[in-house]
């Protein structure tokens, strides 16, 4: 609250930059989990079979 207007604006700019990078990383994480745990490609399913069952991901 005590911050000046410009300091607050630059803090918001930094924050949105951090958030954009964090969201990008989180999307990458979800993509990886999606491929390992949810891909219908048979070879991927068979390779990760025991892990899918052990993580209670839906499997065949």
């Amino acid at each position: 609250m005590q911050q000046s207007q410009s300091a607050r604006l630059s803090a918001i700019a930094v924050d949105s930059n951090v958030i954009a990078q964090a969201v990008l990383a989180m999307a990458l994480g979800l993509f990886i989990v999606g491929v390992v745990g949810f891909s219908h490609i048979s070879a991927v399913h068979n390779a990760a079979h025991d892990v899918r069952h052990a993580n209670a991901f839906p499997c065949h």
Binding site: D15, N17, V18, I19, Q21, A22, V23, L24, A25, M26, L28, G29, L30, F31, I32, V33, V35, V36, G37, F38, H40, S42, A43, H45, N46, A47, A48, H49, D50, V51, R52, H53, A54, N55, A56, F57, P58, C59, H60
Partner: protein
């Protein structure tokens, strides 16, 4: 992109460690149960005439041939276990990216205890809530079509995460009501039901598997929450 790099390094480090540890836990917990169940699965496949088997609906998805039939699969033993370790590490890195992303957005120091709480939230979102409708299943148990179950699973995880966020981060009464409603909604809609059919897999084995999955998953999320918070703090703020 220094924050992105910190998140990726922290997630890779935490995921590598937790993936290896959880693989060891699985080799004692879930893997022997899966292998026992596959004995019953194979017996069912060879013992039952194909017509009757397909009629039961759906140990197999949309009549597709099962993984044991033609497609590539890792050989039992070292190769299969190596793929299990690799898949565990990848899964752990994926979820660690999610956690480290949250820690970065928090914008202040995340202690290992806060990391543990975030890990437990992951357990609720990705294991406890989906397991209420779709309990961990062993190979060879009758199940609903795969895509329907995956859709319900993902929707349940998303609704539970959204509901928890509302409950924790919005102090208003409407947020509490909406949060609880979001958490309950997927279970009121109901998970896709397995067709009524006889399974060779004994109920006791199936029950032990549910317990083993829940416990190993609790360990996975606790470790991942803590390991990711420590790694992210070390990597993103090395001067402290």
């Amino acid at each position: 992109m220094p924050v992105f790099r910190s998140i990726v390094f922290a997630a890779a480090l935490a995921g590598l460690i937790v993936g290896v540890v959880i693989s060891i836990a699985q080799f004692f917990g879930t893997v022997p149960l899966i292998q026992q169940s596959e004995v019953y699965e194979r017996k069912a496949e060879t013992g039952v005439p194909p017509a009757a088997h397909e009629q039961g609906g759906a140990t197999h998805d949309q009549g597709k041939p099962h993984s044991h039939d033609r497609e590539w699969e890792p050989e039992d033993g070292f190769q299969r276990n190596a793929f299990t370790v690799a898949a565990n590490i990848l899964t752990a890195i994926g979820f660690a990216l999610l956690l480290a992303g949250i820690y970065a957005i928090r914008g202040r120091q995340v202690t290992w205890r806060e990391g543990l709480l975030w890990g437990l939230a992951g357990f609720v979102v990705f294991t406890a809530a989906p397991s209420l409708g779709l309990p961990p299943e062993l190979p060879g148990m009758p199940v609903a079509p795969l895509t329907a179950r995956q859709t319900w699973w993902i929707a349940t995880a998303a609704a539970t995460a959204g509901g928890l966020c509302l409950l924790v981060f919005r102090p208003a009464a409407w947020a509490a009501v909406l949060g609880l409603a979001l958490i309950a909604l997927p279970h009121l809609v109901g998970a896709p039901l397995a067709p009524e059919s006889h399974s060779e897999v004994p109920a006791a084995l199936s029950h032990r598997f549910v317990v083993a999955v829940t416990l190993t998953s609790l360990l996975f999320w606790s470790l991942l929450g803590v390991a990711t918070s420590i790694a992210f703090e070390r990597i993103s703020r090395p001067q402290i």
